[in-house]
């Protein structure tokens, strides 16, 4: 059964006299807020009320007692509560109510007088002090207050008289302070300065001396006293803090008058901070604000950083200061201007970014930020601001149509935004959206439309590309360039027939068009390869011949056709085709190596060796020798491959050595590969790349990212190599770009599933895992290329 919720009693359920008693107890425990709350609850219930028929109600005696005790209790609670209120007006309100409830309570009246004095009601303050003095004529505190009231209302002589009646034996520190004050008020500043010598408290002595000197016009003496801060070995009491804050405030004014703005600001800030930390209404917020504003207004052009600090402090002392808020924005721009002038672009950017928060559509800010961020290589952030500027300008396009150069600038901006979005690999759809927004603005911009088509193609949306290309075609008429692009779009969308037809039309229109020719040849080459893979030899040959009809010397077609002829044992025809390649490129070692590779894959080792020999005669560079080794590796002749690799390694640089290592790794020759990595480390000891490759070799290749390190014992070595790679990449600016990759490898290796150790598979058995397969997360950076092994035919 659900437990019934216990209801708290409402005031009408709790006996009133009990609540009053509780409040009294709470007050004596110092729980002022709780007591005040309870007293406010019973307040309406204790008011004498007539019955509904107007007859007098007989009140029970315990209620009568509660009614009698209530006003003084509430007055006490309000008095205690008033000291928790920082706002002087609120404090004054609470004390006024306390005095109304308990007029004989002299402390409330005295404090109310102080509040009135601090809020500018000097006459009211004097009346309170006078009343208090009448109630307790011989109380020293009240006499002091009365004298203060007289001073505040301009009756310095009477105040002096009150002080004179003070018994000599009880003339203490406060008496001397008031005496000095009376003298200051009567224009006897020199006497006041002398009186300061009787003050024992260093806080009071320095303050009275310095202010008396100031009033006497002796600024130098005042300055000297103001500059001396009292030596203390304790945290200042509230009274000491009040005096110190006043001294600092005057220090600030003197510095301000002398044009020492920084010192003036420092003093003012310390004064404000002391007043805040001790909850003192001194110096008043208005005075602090006036000081901050005065310094800031003068510093904004010469020292905008100082102006910023001043207005920030002004806001701290008064968060509702709208002028400080507005000027702060202007000062930030001034600071940004000087930072920019001094070449401190990062600082300028930070300030402009702050300013942009309040003015998000400020054209100058957006442009300054975009340009500067781009300069700082923070291109992703630059894109955001460029895009915002483009949006803004698009919205203004109609209004600003007549502005010279506006449209040109906008179009240039659109182009730049798109280029930068592509360069920074922004979201595909965002790029398309940006392009489409740009084309709306300039529908006849065919260049832009072609770019949209290109983007659609790049993002695998050929049908949308075709639509854009058709729009351009409609406007500009048919051209080989356009047709080639359209054909490519058809090819990507697997519409082979339409692609072929369109390519044919492009070639027919302009037989020598380079774009049309190149794309068509590539397209036909793909078809030939596909037919070959499906063992449709005749069809593959047809495509090759088609390629040769477009370009009779097209080497890839000649070589492919030769391989097909070898397949059909038409060796003579094949030899002839390969000879044509050589005839067309007699000095190309690359063609020699490639043709040697073809012979090698058909067990024609002699012919292969002859071509390799010739290749080395043409160029004995490590690159050429390595390529020959790679051909042997591709047909699994690893011993011969290694022989060439070692020969190449004698003169090879780091890149080539790593290429050989990776080639060996991808053929399962890890041990041999590692030797080449070590050679690469020797060749480039400061470079992080060989260590990255070595780490991944130890990890067991790319599969380690999915299944964890192949051999757990190697984990330490993997980490060691990644550590070294990170150290080297951090050491030199030009290698810093490797850092994200190193960290990514580390993260992925840590997150990889260690299930691999449970799989009864060798590393080479994991080849079925395609690196680009979406099921295994985002594609990994290419590491060990999984080059398809050439099949011996």
């Amino acid at each position: 059964m659900a437990k019934q919720k216990k209801k708290s009693k409402t005031p009408s359920q709790v006996p009133v006299h009990e609540l009053v008693k509780t409040a009294e107890e709470q007050l004596s425990r110092g729980e002022t807020d709780k007591a005040l709350h309870n007293l406010r609850r019973v307040e309406p219930l204790l008011k004498p009320r007539p019955s509904s028929d107007g007859k007098k109600i007989t009140i029970p005696p315990h209620i009568v007692a509660a009614q009698a005790a209530f006003p003084s209790l509430l007055a006490r609670a309000l008095f205690d509560h008033s000291f928790k209120l920082v706002d002087l007006e609120q404090r004054r309100g609470a004390l006024e109510e306390a005095v109304r409830l308990a007029p004989a309570e002299v402390r409330s009246r005295l404090t109310l007088g102080v509040c009135r004095l601090l809020t500018g009601d000097t006459a009211g303050a004097y009346a309170d002090f006078q009343k208090a003095d009448e109630m307790h004529p011989n109380d020293p505190l009240i006499t002091r207050a009365f004298a203060l009231g007289l001073l505040a209302t301009g009756r310095a002589r009477e105040a002096t008289g009150v002080l004179g009646s003070w018994p000599r034996e009880s003339r203490d520190e406060t008496w001397y302070r008031l005496n000095a004050l009376c003298n200051l008020a009567e224009g006897n500043a020199e006497i006041a300065a002398l009186i300061s010598g009787n003050l024992k408290s260093p806080f009071a002595a320095l303050l009275v001396k310095s202010l008396s000197n100031l009033a006497a016009g002796d600024t130098a003496a005042a300055q000297s006293a103001l500059d001396q801060l009292p030596a203390i070995d304790h945290n200042p009491t509230n009274s000491e803090a009040a005096m110190l804050a006043t001294q600092l405030y005057y220090s600030s004014l003197v510095n301000l008058a002398a044009g020492r703005d920084k010192q003036a600001f420092g003093n003012l800030r310390e004064a404000g901070s002391l007043a805040r930390s001790h909850s003192l209404p001194l110096p008043s917020a208005d005075k602090l604000s006036a000081g901050y504003h005065a310094i800031a207004e003068r510093a904004v052009t010469t020292d905008p950083a100082l102006a910023i600090e001043c207005w920030q402090e002004a806001l701290r002392s008064n968060p509702a200061d709208k002028i400080a808020q507005a000027n702060l924005e202007v000062a930030k721009r001034a600071r940004a201007q000087s930072a920019w002038r001094a070449g401190q672009t990062e600082q300028a950017v930070a300030l402009w970014q702050e300013a942009l928060e309040t003015s998000p559509n400020d054209e100058r800010l957006l442009r300054n930020l975009a340009i500067s961020l781009e300069k700082l290589e923070r291109k992703d952030e630059a894109v955001t601001h460029w895009r915002a500027l483009a949006r803004l300008w698009r919205q203004q396009a109609k209004q600003r149509a007549s502005e010279t150069g506006f449209k040109d600038r906008l179009l240039r901006l659109e182009q730049h935004v798109i280029d930068l979005m592509i360069a920074t690999r922004q979201d595909e759809q965002a790029i398309i959206n940006e392009l489409e927004a740009a084309i709306k603005l300039d529908p006849d911009n065919h260049e832009l439309r072609l770019q949209i088509a290109e983007q659609h193609l790049a993002f695998g949306k050929p049908h949308l590309a075709v639509r854009q290309l058709q729009l351009v075609e409609r406007a500009q008429g048919e051209s080989a360039d356009l047709l080639a692009r359209k054909a490519l779009a058809f090819a990507i969308s697997q519409n082979r027939k339409e692609a072929e037809k369109t390519f044919e039309r492009a070639i027919e229109l302009e037989p020598d068009n380079k774009v049309a020719k190149t794309t068509y040849l590539t397209f036909l080459g793909d078809l030939a390869s596909k037919a070959d893979r499906n063992e449709q030899t005749e069809r593959a040959m047809e495509y090759c011949r088609k390629q040769l009809s477009i370009d009779p010397n097209y080497a890839p077609a000649l070589k492919h056709l030769a391989m097909l002829d070898f397949d059909l044992e038409n060796d003579a025809e094949a030899d002839e085709l390969l000879n044509r390649v050589i005839e067309n490129n007699p000095q190309s070692w690359q063609q020699r190596v490639s043709i040697g590779g073809i012979y090698l894959s058909f067990y024609k080792n002699k012919e292969a060796e002859a071509h390799f020999k010739k290749a080395i005669e043409i160029d004995s560079s490590p690159g050429c020798i390595y390529s020959i080794g790679q051909e042997y590796l591709d047909v699994n002749e690893s011993k011969r491959a290694l022989k060439f690799f070692e020969q190449a390694a004698e003169k090879a640089g780091m890149d080539l050595l790593l290429e050989m290592a990776v080639g060996l790794f991808s053929h399962g020759l890890t041990k041999d590969g590692l030797q080449f990595v070590d050679k690469a480390i020797k060749a480039a000891p400061d470079h992080p790349e060989p260590h990255i490759v070595k780490a991944l070799a130890h990890a067991g290749g790319p599969a380690a990212f999915i299944f964890g390190v192949a051999n757990p014992k190697k984990r330490a070595e993997v980490e060691k190599e990644l550590d070294e790679a990170e150290r080297l990449a951090s050491a030199r600016k030009e290698y810093a770009s490797a850092l994200p990759r190193i960290r990514e490898y580390r993260e992925r290796l840590t997150a990889a599933n260690p299930l691999r150790s449970l799989l009864p598979l060798g590393l080479s058995d994991l080849d079925f895992l395609d690196e680009d397969d979406d099921d295994y997360g985002p594609p990994l950076p290419p590491l060990f290329s999984s080059k398809r092994k050439k099949k011996r035919r």
Partner: protein, 118 residues
Amino acid sequence: MNAENLLTAENPYETLGLERGADEAEIKQAYFNLVREHPPERDPEGFKRIRAAYEKLRAAGERAETDLFLIDERDVAFNAGQLQRYAGQPPAITPETIKSDLIALEAVLLMEEVIVGR
């Protein structure tokens, strides 16, 4: 010229001694005046700079690109006219303010004593 080059290039308006809002005729005039002062045969380097600056401004497309990527004083300058003056009295040191501040201080000290003694 691409954006990257523009980010580091010198300000063509400054080179030609022009305001950012100069019109086509002013640009042309400034260019010819400067070329007269720095003919290629006498000052090939100076001429090269002047010519390069002119190239960046002569045609609408180039000028649009220049204007888009150029930050100069005009772009970073803050607008002092936007500064608002504080309405309150600026702080001053007079015997009167000293007196009233000391009275206020005495009032605070008095209140502190009441608080401590309550």
